[in-house]
Amino acid sequence: MSLSPARFLLVLLGLAAALAPLWVLESFHLFQLTMAVIMALAVLGLNIVTGYNGQISLGHGAFFAIGAYVTSILMAQADWSFYATLPFAAAICGMVGYAVGLPALRLGGLYLALVTFSLAVAVPQLLKHKALEAWTGGVQGLFLMKPDPPRWLTSLLPFNADQYMYLNVLIVSGICFLLAWNLIRGRIGRALMATRDHPTAAEAMGMDIAALKTGAFAVSAMITGVAGALSAVAVEFVAPDSFTFLLSITFFVGMVVGGVASILGSIFGGLFVLFQPRRAGCDLWLDPDCFSVCASGRLRRFGAAPSGKAFIAWKPKTTISGEEFTMTISRRLLLAGSAGALAAPQIAAAQEAPGVTATEIHIGSTNALSGPVSSYSVISRCLEAMFKRLNDEGGVGGRRVKFTVYDDAYQPPRTLEQTRRLVERDRVAFLFNQLGTPTNSAVHRYVNQRSVPHLFLATGADKWANPREFPWTIGWQPSYRVEAQIYTKYVLEQRPNAKIALLYQNDDFGRDYLHGVQDVLKDRFRSMVVTATNEATDPTIDSQIVQLQATGADVLICGVVPRFAAQAIRRVHDIGWRPMMFMTNVSVSVGVVMQPAGVEKGVGLITSDYRKDQSDPAWAQDAGMNEWRAFMRRYVPDGDLGDNNYTYGYGVGATMIQVLRQCGNDFSRENVMNQARNIKPMDVATLLPGIKVQTQPDNYNVIRQMQLQRWNGQSWERFGNVIEGAGG
């Protein structure tokens, strides 16, 4: 392959364009670009098998996941260096790809699409499986470290870890692209295309179709696997929830947009899938990405709109603020490759606290504004309204609060990306109430390394109350583990010889219940407890209920989400099982769980709460709840009053505002964190009487008390005293 001078110049220009970002882009953008290059590599892999060889794959996310996990396991469990893991990731993905390609030999294109589709859906579940947990870290995932730039390099150029990562990704991807280019241009490439265009003719010409097809699949899986390995290290975290079917779809979309059967097109496809969805977020409803800046037009869309009123209520975007405008522009410049404008935000006044000006405090958050758990997005909506009320009343410390929520679609890598965007680009003062356990796990170490307050998270996982190792992270609600401890204690008190059936969701959330029960029973756990699990994707849990009943258990503890809670209550009743039944307080809403389950079927069900249930007549005249109702009428007029995410949001918002008030005039990150870990016991309007919000520097369990309650057919009846849990 000889280079003409013009070509040589082109290659040189391309190289310069690829390397320039190392010096002209700030860290966050460099990270985004790194992810874009990784995406391009994954799209290239897909393009080889689908574009050039005509075998449709909807499951390349699975290979991406396998590559990521091979690297992570070798790095985290066996202390291998990152570079040594890459050939292994490639080899294992190649083998799996070959194995998947084998049945494809006998099948038409459509069937292969089906096989790969099912592979993509099933792989995350396999990664979580108990048998592999020792290696994969189960639902918790694995943390990794980016390789540090070697000494000889840092002595030449002052590279940080982000820049070094980009360089690594660029080199590995460059090699893969060159190899792919070579493969496609040569005899094999032509044979691949001939097989795609006319298999019979190709075979008649003496080509070994079987070898070509399986070989193409193996190479393709290998390249996508390497991309997965790179992404694991760039994100420094892997968890099964990062590799949903949507990832495979993303690759597919990238390939189609960039260009089917085009190597350069793969690069554009990679850039597209990383940048376009977020660009679109500001303009289109498809991916409502920037929540606060478009709030006036968009907010209304997140409530329940039972009769299609959303159409009328929604105003097309007529209010482009200056902020949003500059944001859009700067992204365009980024896409165009110009970086001059981007350097500007870096020169923010250094002596001031980040995110705080004379008139404004900027707070950042992430939530699932799209995707399967986006019903929780109403929390952000409630908080947005609370800050609006605060601003209407004159703000705090003479400043207005600006609250920016980005969409992470509940995907951990997206959470990291959006969090970095908030911290490094938008330069928020601190992070508040980010949603979800796997998502917050992905940023846990990042925010603590950077000393950014990571306050009052919307998750009940137990691991946020760890001031010694993670002083900058703090939860809010009682942890699921504390809750399970309380139930188990109550069981032992009432039925010392009980046989306990435990049904829990096979993820971080469900496992906390398992741990809570284990905490209390210790050695007796094995003899007293039988367990069953469910997946979020299961259509029903009938089978699990029947299985548990057959063990003869007389106590049932459920750690499942609302959809399954309703099914469990109904099913337990219908098969005539009458255990002492406990339900996680995540899933006891009257409207969402008890009514669909059938109010009479849940009589006797026990749960716990720390909030006042808005549908309970006992609180009809309660001062605190009246305050909440007045707020809802005025600031969230179309919000569903039956949705207890609003009482949650009100409580956590009130806690945040208390911390801001305590700060006085000093909103530096140190002081915000200091105030957040020194909240004197206080009452909150939507919490049960006697339950206090409080923190101490050595105790981050913000709410550590709960009260048991029992379903009487119409409402929850509280009984017994407020119980204090022990924590982890």
């Binding site: 909807l58 099912s118 597919f252 329940a304 019903s375």
Partner: protein, 279 residues
Amino acid sequence: MEAFLLQLAAGIATGGIYASVALAIVMIYQATHHVNFAQGEMATLSTFMALTMIQAGLPYWVAFVGTLVLSFIMGALVERLIMRPVQHAPILTHVGVYIGMLLIIGNMTGWVFGYTIQMFPSPFEGGRPMLGGLFSSHQLGSVGVTLTVLILVYLFFTKTSLGLAMRAAAYNPRSARLVGIRVDVMLALGWGLAAAIGSVAPNMMLGILLYAFAGALLGGIDNPPGAVMGGFLVGVLENLAGAYIVGTDLKLTVALVIIIGVLVLKPSGLFGRVVFTRV
């Protein structure tokens, strides 16, 4: 033994859901020889349409028929506006279009109806558990509806001239056109029917689509009664395997194994016809 029967019953009940989605997949396959990946999203949209009508105060069965009609129109429109222009394009284009529809319909549903979980009333509510407590009235009801729809579809395809014309249009468009069948109308009709049948399935989610695929393949992708049988079989297999063999945390893998197993061992499915391709 009782536990086993209960597992069996639970399997049949969930199998009913798979069976109706599998039936919809097979319908599209009959009409176009393609598999619609957006079927789950279309079914979700239909469910929300039904819910909206019920909340507006319409009686359940009126809303049911209304939803069927609306879904039929939606399916036919999709064929006319989206699928027709790419009729002769390669399979890859079709898959691309299906993926696009999956994203657009899925997001649109969330945008219009919100993402909050909503309660969907059952018309079979209030009855006592039947057959010795094995089934709830709701479960029996939905299985009954699936079977009724199956019988109607079967009669439609074998006994009516319209149904025969549709099958002809799918199997051999050129000959069908020669004998005077309006192939395009037939295809639109097929899409409409599939969308309407999909709307009977009351749930969404990828998991269901996966099980439904497994069911359709197991029964034979060109055979509607086979697909329904396959759907029920997968439901039962998945439940029994989950309870007695692999544990509940590997159920999705069971579906994957069924799909690959069928494709490798008997690609035409249990009840399908073996098709030869001539060059």
